[in-house]
Symmetry: C2
Subunit: 261 residues, 2 copies
């Protein structure tokens, strides 16, 4: 099977022009088939503030009312997505910017109101990998904004880490997939205040133990849960680490490498 | 050669939820290969006003400074494009929303400062029809936002009528193309205040004559110039008319049909 790199870029990198450009330079340099999935950084919140649309976050997730859905659609699928595509094109990388509605790529179900009403937030229901594989076969590089659709005409806001995990899992039937979660941190840290305390390797058992002991930061838990789900569904390798060190992350010389073992 | 319908939707239809939905229903019903190109309506101006970014229009063209480029990227490639895609998907039409940077589809040159500095506005330089043909062959329906890129990492704001004309012309080497400019008016009017005074058919000579006599409204001239350019470059048929009558426009039973004859 051919190799496929699925790279999620998130956190503060999106908001930092110089860091993002450096990351995209490394990304464009990957010779193998690749997919980029980006988050929204703080740009959506900044626009919402300017427009006077109050944002409510619950455990790092954005409550998405109708006005907020408009904002994330503009910022994620428009501003961030198309600027990344133009930047990659300038580096000779034939990027194509899409969201989950395009080509009916990702259908999702609007999350049911529980204790919390997340609004227009969707949980992935079905992935159409044939469409994605068709793009890769044409040497196109999909750049995905974290929006899905319900098949009934509505866009839904969907967590980018989860989309990366779902695509990585589904593509594992066809490719040898490496999934990389990259952001501003060096990796999973043993001590949250010590940037040098990166855990170089961690398996599921070690993760569960550290989680129980309260040693994994709250923000890192959903990311790690996604990572182990991806491994469970056939992804060969998951690495979490610093976006600026993408080449090292791929080579396994930086960040935290996770395994199911 | 196979038929191809290239449909531009613009004007006030974009801002009118019910009219847009009705138009998209008709569009989805077209059995032949098709491409939709949309403008931005008044949504970009409305967002600019909310954000306090002053908009300057010169002869119907938007002066695009850096902040305005961000706004049109958000509104055209994000909000409008992805909502149209989701709506078409719900009608069983396998839409894919793109701008000119995606797949390196349309490269453009930043317009040089003349008497007027249009800012980040681009004039089409090169169209990569192979990419578009690849999408059509996979039964995908391209939905295009009026943005291009310069190949050096910058997005550029480009007139949607012109993009429609350029694509229609270039695709005429491969398809029998019908180009439809649809909006809120019934067609080209003989008397601007009389909505029923639609000119049913007009050739280039008749157009030039009416233009000289000052009978063609200023807003209609660039559209008609684009239409005749398209015919000159091999497009079979150009029709200008009311978006809600798309089926009739296709059948030649509504609007103004143009010919080079």
């Amino acid at each position: 099977m051919d190799k496929l790199f699925i790279i999620k870029i998130g956190g503060q990198i999106i908001d930092d022009e110089a860091k993002l450009a450096s990351f995209l330079q490394s990304f464009a340099g990957i010779k193998e088939p690749k997919i980029l999935i980006h988050g929204g950084g703080k740009l959506a919140s900044a626009l919402a503030e300017k427009l006077g649309v109050k944002q409510v976050m619950v455990e790092g997730r954005r409550i998405t009312d109708a006005e907020t859905l408009k904002i994330v659609t503009m910022v994620y699928a428009g501003l961030i997505n198309k600027n990344i595509v133009a930047a990659l094109q300038a580096k000779g990388c034939n990027a194509i910017g899409l969201c989950g509605a395009d080509g009916n790529m990702i259908t999702a179900r609007k999350r049911k109101k529980g204790e919390i009403d997340y609004g227009f937030v969707g949980d992935v229901e079905k992935l159409h990998t044939k469409f994605i594989r068709g793009l890769l076969k044409k040497d196109l590089v999909p750049v995905l904004a974290p929006l899905t659709h319900d098949g009934k005409g509505h866009l839904l806001n969907t967590n980018a880490d989860t989309i990366a995990q779902e695509i990585a899992g589904a593509m594992s039937a066809h490719y040898q997939v490496t999934l990389i979660y990259s952001f501003e941190k060096n990796g999973v840290l043993m001590h949250i205040d010590d940037a040098s305390s990166v855990i170089k390797a961690m398996n599921k058992k070690e993760y569960e133990k550290l989680k129980k002991e309260g040693k994994i930061s709250a923000g890192m838990i959903p990311k790690l849960d996604n990572a182990f789900l991806a491994l469970k569904s056939g992804v060969k390798k998951v690495v979490i680490g610093k976006a600026e060190e993408l080449k090292k992350l791929i080579a396994g010389r930086s960040g935290t490498t996770l395994s199911n073992g």
